[in-house]
């Protein structure tokens, strides 16, 4: 088991990765009033485990799915917290994927101006990415993460136990963010490249997840609230990935990030930001998880979604994080029109 400390200014946090992490969580929660937030999928799979391991806890079960990451669910959690008479020293446990982590985290952040919070992520994506760093939010009026807070959990417990019930699609989704991290961080890259045959092996994924957490913790420590620009590097692949996700929305978030990185490696190469050789290396890593980049007959329409995203745009320009060389990246700004041309690369077959 690995312990990764996250030295954020607001509150020190730590992430416990590996087999036995759930037992650690149970130890940590001894004596506290515990309030578990989860979704109907996780609850169905782990109802017995919850009853056995957390016999005293209140459990709030929300409907599963991103479309429930809204104001209604947030206030339902708060209502149930009130009903359970939680106080500030009670502990909210977010048990689920990124959606549950985001909503339970926000509820913990605002209930009585903040209760204690721990995250027990159950998806690979949440274990390597969303549970670490303190971002919490709900979607509102069609804007992703419109209402939220930076609120660090006291502890994150990533137990590979939960990965065993994940559908393959969810594993690929998490691998998307892992490959992104590999492009950003040479240590993760070496681990991926040297063990590329073991990417779908849970024992290895557990080590890989811990390395991804170490990298993310390092970034979050230096830019907790996304103000210095450093944390932006984590958005590699996301400008395009997110636009395609909004345009099509059938694949998982992680796959769209991979497709986004594929296109952005092409852009980096064409714009002279990185060498052809390095861009090819990136695309080879992407293919480890996504052997064939799918065709998007209407990819150029993704431009409108990229332009709608306030994070990336100002006055007809689209900004994105581009890979430069091993462990190096830059924020790069393109005129919307030129970016629209690049999007067309996703429309054809030959690549």
């Amino acid at each position: 088991m690995k312990i990764i400390r996250v030295h954020t200014k607001s509150r020190p946090s730590s992430v416990c990765c590996g087999a036995g992490a759930l037992d650690e969580a149970i130890n940590f929660l001894q004596g506290a009033q515990v309030f578990i937030v989860t979704d109907s999928n996780v609850f169905r799979l782990y109802q017995t485990l919850l009853a056995e391991r957390f016999p005293q806890a209140s459990v709030c079960v929300l409907p599963a799915g991103e479309r429930h990451k809204n104001r209604r669910s947030l206030f339902r959690i708060l209502d149930e917290m009130l009903g359970a008479q939680l106080h500030r020293s009670s502990v909210v446990v977010a048990l689920g994927g990124g959606v549950i982590g985001d909503m339970a985290g926000l509820a913990a952040a605002v209930y009585m101006r903040g209760t204690r919070l721990i995250q027990i992520p159950t998806t690979l994506l949440a274990q390597v990415d969303s549970s670490v760093g303190g971002k919490t939010a709900i979607d509102y009026r069609g804007v992703k993460n419109m209402v939220g807070a930076f609120y660090q959990p006291e502890r994150v417990f990533c137990d590979p136990l939960f990965l065993q019930t994940l559908p393959n699609r969810e594993i690929r989704c998490g691998l998307g963010e892992i490959i992104k991290t590999a492009v950003l961080d040479p240590q993760v890259k070496d681990l991926v490249v040297q063990n590329f045959t073991r990417l779908f092996d849970f024992a290895f994924l557990q080590d890989l997840a811990a390395e991804c957490v170490r990298f993310k913790a390092h970034i979050v420590e230096r830019d907790e609230t996304e103000t210095s620009g450093l944390r932006k590097c984590l958005n590699l692949g996301h400008t395009t990935g997110h636009a395609l996700e909004l345009l099509c929305g059938r694949r998982s978030h992680g796959e769209y990030v991979l497709i986004g990185m594929w296109l952005e490696s092409k852009i980096a190469e064409a714009e002279g930001v990185c060498s052809r050789e390095y861009a090819e290396q990136i695309r080879a890593m992407i293919r480890l998880v996504l052997p064939r980049i799918p065709c998007f007959a209407n990819a150029a329409e993704g431009l409108q979604f990229a332009l709608l995203d306030k994070k990336n745009t100002s006055q007809g320009m689209v900004s994105m994080i581009l890979p430069k060389a091993e462990g190096e990246y830059v924020e790069y700004v393109l005129p919307a029109e030129r970016y629209g041309e690049y999007l067309k690369l996703l429309e054809g077959e030959q690549r």
Copy 2:
């Protein structure tokens, strides 16, 4: 003009007190996208000033009054922020009393996980107390400040200009918290005692307000999120005051705090926590603002409200902050029954 720095861990803040503070605010906001949140009372009085001094700003006008400090108003602010296309570097300006400060502060805390925030408090109470320290909240399901956040404003600008339009009731309300601060802090006490004839004189109030802010900043710096217990001292008079406020609700918050302190000085004396002489000194200061402590025929019923307040109670005990000696105070716990007996002191006439 006095500048008081507040060195909180989450974000450094500073408070600018005195004539000209509004001009400082306008200078500070140069070049920023400004979104003003205010209420219908303040807007009616200062509409022209706003149009002249903040010609570019968006203004969100909420209905006045504590009963509007709710979820509906919060989401109305967020909707208008979205409508005005605010981004994280836009500045929310809370222009009003404590209710506006609390709601605009919370909206700023959660919009896109946090925009910039400044406070321009327009009541004496907000200038000496609520605008400083980063507490934001709305009431929810009948619980005061149920949903909120600790979110420090970058700057607070306290301009005595706004005090001139305050009704007398509002001045007395602010003086309630000032007298509370005088009991906690010897410097504020000396200023009050040496200038007791000038308590309703705006020029003096301005200096007094700055001293109260200095004291509060000192407390908030050492216990920003109310975890070490230190910040609790600011609740002097509030256990009883708040219970009476819920029971009767006709007077201002500050007056209830004074009445609460009056009773709690009696309790401190009877329980041997402070000397009779010191308790008399406190009551003399209270009389400067509230010459006659009113009778509450049903005061003992306040016990139920004190017991409902999770902050003060556990298992049939009521806790409160009691004065001990000059600049000293203790957290004191009484069995509910004995506290109920003390409440009866407020039912009689002779004191």
